[in-house]
């Protein structure tokens, strides 16, 4: 019963997430027991080499949130590919949560955020013409 409630209350948000690029789709999934309320959620950048090599992956990052809503003690808990870890940590460090009021207790439990990096085929028919794809130069 409880599990069903969670599923029902799960929200799929595609707004209020900061992304470095305009052509990246970002979805934010939260549920009713996610804990602290996100204030500024920063999306990680898809690593250039991973995108180039068509690599997808997931990273789970755990962290503490202080009274002011800043993230602390950010660490990777699990990941499918190390290439995604650095941008995930950077994104969590740049994210903030709603500060606690004076009468609110600081939860002792750590928060964990999972980032899923995926590449979806472009559905529409594209013209095979040179255009900007990469922002980074070769090393």
């Amino acid at each position: 019963m409880i599990r069903q409630s969670w599923c029902f209350l799960t929200l799929l948000l595609t707004v209020s997430v900061a992304s470095a690029k305009d052509d990246v789709t970002v979805a934010h999934v939260v549920d009713s027991i996610s804990g602290r309320i996100p204030l500024q959620t920063v999306a990680p950048e898809y690593p250039h080499k991973a995108r180039r090599d068509r690599v997808e992956g997931q990273v789970e990052v755990c962290f503490e949130i202080d009274r002011k809503g800043r993230t602390r003690r950010v660490a990777v808990r699990n990941s499918t590919n190390r290439a995604f870890e650095k941008p995930s940590i950077k994104a969590v460090r740049a994210s903030t949560f709603r500060p606690l009021k004076d009468d609110e207790e600081l939860p002792l439990i750590k928060s964990c955020r999972r980032f899923i990096f995926s590449l979806e085929p472009v559905e529409e028919q594209v013209s095979l013409v040179y255009g900007p794809r990469y922002a980074e130069s070769d090393h």
Partner: protein, 175 residues
């Protein structure tokens, strides 16, 4: 477009740079004898394809031996592509590969030329040949990424999951 061309230039100039370095390291052999070639490579690396091609063509006129000619043609392939003259670039890449079928940098450059000409099958074949010769080349990986972006474009999607009860994450996989 500018970003794309910048990357293209950087990828192409990677091949040029090596020749310039080789020449810089062995000036007693090539440098004094063919300064046009040396200066042409440097001009290409400095982002001046007009001057680079001009100097390299003069270097080709006075080139001694197959090695100098290969350097000249390989750099002309890069230079003409940077000038937007892909058909001319192709002639120079072909010249090198006809004489040295193991020249992975020319496969790299010719793959870019084919990409510009939208001859995707030939571009893929050159990338494959280049990677057989030099499997760890980052340059070839970049070109392959550009090729894939043309034939199989993808959009990046990032999901941020804050749910307390998330599905199990697969075990860590090696890179």
């Amino acid at each position: 477009m500018v970003q794309r061309l910048t990357l293209l230039a950087m990828t192409m100039l990677a091949a040029v740079q090596v020749y310039a370095d080789v020449e810089a390291d062995s000036k007693t052999v090539i440098g004094p004898r063919n300064l046009y070639l040396y200066d042409g490579a440097n001009a290409l690396m400095a982002g001046n394809p007009e001057e680079g091609v001009s100097l390299t063509l003069r270097g080709l006129e006075v080139a001694h031996g197959l090695r100098e000619k290969k350097i000249a043609h390989a750099n002309l392939c890069a230079g003409f592509l940077l000038l937007g003259q892909a058909e001319t670039a192709l002639v120079h890449c072909d010249w090198v590969l006809e004489r040295d079928p193991n020249h992975w940098r020319s496969y790299n450059n010719r793959a870019l030329v084919y990409l510009r000409l939208q001859r995707f099958d030939e571009s893929e074949a050159d990338i494959r040949k280049g990677q057989e010769l030099n499997p760890r080349s980052e340059k070839l990986k970049e070109v392959k990424g550009m090729y894939l972006d043309e034939v199989q474009p993808v959009d990046e999607e990032i999901t941020i999951d804050d749910r307390r009860n998330k599905p199990q994450l697969p075990l860590e996989q090696p890179e």
